[in-house]
Each structure stands twice: as C-alpha cells, then as structure tokens.
C-alpha cells in the first residue's frame, strides 16, 4: 500500500515537471503552503495521498514560522483543516540527526492522539525527547504518536 503512495508521488513529480514550472521550495524549508506527505494510515490522509493532493501547511505552531522535526502544524487536507506533527524533514540537519527524502507528517487531533493506527516510515529518535517535552508543556499527550511508530532511526 505504501508503495502505491510512493509511486503516486513520483507520478506527481513527473506530471509537475511536464507542466514546466518549478515546485521546489527554497532550502527545503517547511513554511506556509509547503506540501507534506502523510505517512500514517488515517483515512483522510490515505485518500489525499492517493488522489495526488498532498496537504499544505497554513500554520506552524512556533515563533519562527519554519517547521522542523517535532513541530506542530495546521494543514489543509481535502478541504478540511487538520493538525499534524512533522516527523521528518528534507532540510539539511545537524550531525547524527536523520534527513529524509520527503517531508513527513502524522495527522493528530486536538488532544494530540494520532488519527491513524500505524506509521509506515522510520521516524527519528530525536522525536521521543521533543514530544515528551511538549506533552508536559501543553497538557495534550503527544506520546501516543510514538506508540504507533514501526521503526526509529
């Protein structure tokens, strides 16, 4: 199933290339209107990825406005607004922090519990510490996301 998603992605890439305009975001940073890839098996996320309409960020919950690993974002997905947590970035990272080939997001609800039941891709170890810290600060429990992850790198 995941392979389908990937194939779709590359197809999207080809289509965009054939359209002849540049879609690469500057510095691979995650800011407003950046497209993300939903990596959990939530219904809405699966459908959005299958249709080739990936979610777009329209708010990053931090002070810089640039999203990195562990940041909460609000995304527009299939005409709805959903919250998500960035679980992997394309941007150049520091030493010992993994850099991924796509910008991955896991959709969550207001309490921080994920909409899906499984994450198909590896997520960084660093996320454990970040989410634990955020859980204390906000009152919402983000650590449920870690429980549905399959692999850490």
């Amino acid at each position: 199933m995941f392979c389908n998603g990937l194939r779709n992605l590359s197809e999207i890439g080809q289509k965009i290339a054939s359209r002849g305009f540049h879609t690469t975001a500057v510095n691979d940073q995650l800011h407003l209107l950046s497209r993300l890839r939903v990596v959990d098996n939530s219904e809405i996320g699966k459908r959005a990825m299958a249709e080739g309409k990936p979610p777009k960020i329209f708010h990053v919950y931090n002070k810089t406005g640039v999203g990195t690993i562990g940041d909460k974002v609000m995304v527009a997905i299939k005409g709805e607004k959903k919250k998500g947590i960035i679980v992997g970035c394309k941007q150049t990272q520091q030493a010992m922090v993994p850099k991924f080939d796509s910008n991955n997001v896991v959709l969550i609800d207001d309490n921080g519990s994920p909409l899906g039941t499984r994450i198909h891709v590896p997520i960084p170890n660093l996320l454990r510490t970040i989410l634990r810290k955020k859980t204390i600060a906000k009152g919402a429990d983000y650590t449920k996301l870690l429980a549905i992850a399959t692999k850490f790198v």
Partner: protein, 315 residues
C-alpha cells in the same frame, strides 16, 4: 678513505668533468636517481681510474610513509587555503585526532563504501543506535571531518551525517570496502531506491590483505526530473541521465557550450592552490606515522583473533 670521494650530483656530464679533475685512483659515486647509475657506469668504464657507481640509498630510507596514506587518512591534511594555515594549530589538531583514534578504530573507507556506525544516542531506547548505509559524501579536514551515510528504510531514503571525531561514536565498521566512479554520490537521491538499499543485518565482506581497493563501475539510472541538482550539467560518471526534452534540453546544451571549461585541467596554479605540496604531506604524515602504524597493527591483530574464533560447526 683518502681516495674515496662521495658525489651527490644530478647530471652525468657534470660528474664526468668533476672526476677528470680529481685524478684519483678509486672513486665511488652516489646518486639520488636510479636511472643515472647504469648510464654513468657505462661511460666511466673507459677511464683508467677504478670507479664504483651506486645509488644513494639514504633518500629511500628517509621516506617511510606509505604513499597511499593521503587516500586512507585524507583528513590529516589541512585546508590548503593560506588564510587558515597555522602550524601550531595543525599540530594540536593532529594530536587530538590521534588521541581520539587511540580510543576508536576509524577504518579506511571511501565514498561508495558501505559502513555500519554504532553511536550513543540519548534519545534512543537503549541509548545506542546503529545505522547502515553507503557513504555518499566525505567533507572537511581536521576535527571537522565528517561523512554522510545513505540508506533506504521502509522505502524512504534516510541520510545521516556523522562527525568522524565525535566522541558519541562507539564503533565504525566497514561492511564493504570499495570505491565508486565519483567523489560524491549525491545523485543516489534521484536514483531508483534499489541502488541505495542495504539490509541492517548485512555481514562484513572480506578483502584480502594488501589487495587494492576495488572500484565498482556501477552506473545508476536516474529518475526523470525534478532533481536535487542539475545532473545534466554536472555529468557524474556513475549516473545514466535520462534524455531530457524540450526547453530544458536546449538550456543544458547551451549552458555546456557556454560555461564548460576544458582548459581548467591544465591550470597548474589552480591545482597548486587546491592541494598541499608532496613534501609537506610527507612531513605531516611522518609526524603521525608511528602512531597510525601501531594502530593499524593492533587492529589487524584484533581482526585475526576474531577470524580465528568465528568458524562454526558444520552438520
């Protein structure tokens, strides 16, 4: 000893004239260059005096550092930019690097080799993590030296940069020692995932001692653009670039015509500024040779021990 004269001359003609002036019965000549020895001895046979011509072996003895050290330990060479050179800092940096190497074995590896790195990670469950991947990049010199590993895990490309002298590294293991056609394999990001997929439980491959490092002539198929970089301009040797269409093709052709610099490889000054002279390299490596050599011997002994323990029962 009175009739023994030692020469260290470069040109045979000069030597001949000097000998004729001396008028000694027994003459011994030492040369720094091997090819001159035979030439001279033939010429001097006609003269009446007894002449022994031999090669100067002192120069040979001086050079103890193997010539491949600059490939095995490239990070010991400082940045050739004169703005950042300082002999004391370089010495200090080298001693620090050697000190770190005495604690962890950083083996010989190249871009294209497959490595397994075990590191301590405060965020991980057991406080250690292991990552396996192909080395796609090596950067910088001195204590800043780092390398990047790439692997495809669950169909998602993952890259991790490690600093070679980071004390968090616990073990660096070379699973497959080989070179590729390029000095950077960043095009693997735009290639099919099969070319950068390696299992985490991969076994180390054995390479005969003293055998040259094999070069893998593998050519990689690139996906159609968009790409990480404009590979049609950079033209890496190890990548098969798909044929471009339309405007992009025209543009790349024009660019290559306009900006290609075929004369660059003849620019000796540019090469000189980018590299460190051979004599300086020798002096740098001779400073640290004894330590590095001891470490190599120690690691070989360890490997032999391990190899001896390993055999399993059959049947």
């Amino acid at each position: 000893m009175s009739n023994l004269v030692l020469f260290q001359l470069r040109k045979s003609t000069v030597a001949l004239s000097a000998i004729s002036k001396l008028n000694k019965t027994h003459i011994e000549i030492q040369f720094n260059f091997k090819y001159l020895v035979g030439q001279l001895s033939q010429r001097l046979q006609s003269t009446s005096s007894q002449v022994v011509v031999r090669e100067n072996t002192k120069r040979e003895q001086k050079r103890v550092v193997p010539p491949n050290y600059r490939h095995i330990y490239p990070e010991f060479l400082p940045d050739p930019n004169m703005e950042f050179r300082n002999s004391v800092r370089e010495k200090l940096e080298r001693t620090d690097m050697i000190n770190r190497r005495s604690r962890i074995e950083i083996p010989e590896f190249y871009v294209g080799s497959i490595l397994a790195v075990t590191s301590s990670d405060e965020h991980a469950v057991g406080k250690t993590t292991k990552f396996v991947g192909i080395c796609i990049k090596r950067e910088f010199c001195g204590l800043r030296a780092n390398f990047t590993l790439r692997n495809v895990v669950d169909n998602l490309g993952v890259e991790i940069k490690y600093e070679m002298y980071d004390p968090r590294l616990q073990r660096v293991q070379v699973l497959r020692l080989e070179k590729r056609l390029d000095s950077e394999l960043l095009y693997l990001r735009d290639a099919d995932p099969e070319f950068s997929t390696f299992p985490f439980d991969m076994d180390a491959e054995f390479l005969n001692e003293g055998a040259p490092v094999p070069v893998n002539p593998l050519k990689v198929n690139l996906r159609p653009p968009p790409w990480y970089a404009r590979w049609e301009r950079l033209q890496p040797k190890g990548a098969i670039i798909p044929e471009l269409r339309g405007r992009r093709k025209e543009k790349s052709e024009k660019w290559l015509e306009k900006f290609s610099e075929p004369w660059e490889k003849y620019d000796l000054m540019k090469q000189y500024r980018k590299t460190i002279p051979e004599e300086e390299q020798d002096s740098i490596y001779s400073d640290i040779y004894s330590e590095l050599h001891q470490m190599e011997i120690a690691s070989k002994k360890l490997k032999r021990k391990k190899a001896f323990v390993k055999p399993k029962k059959t049947g």
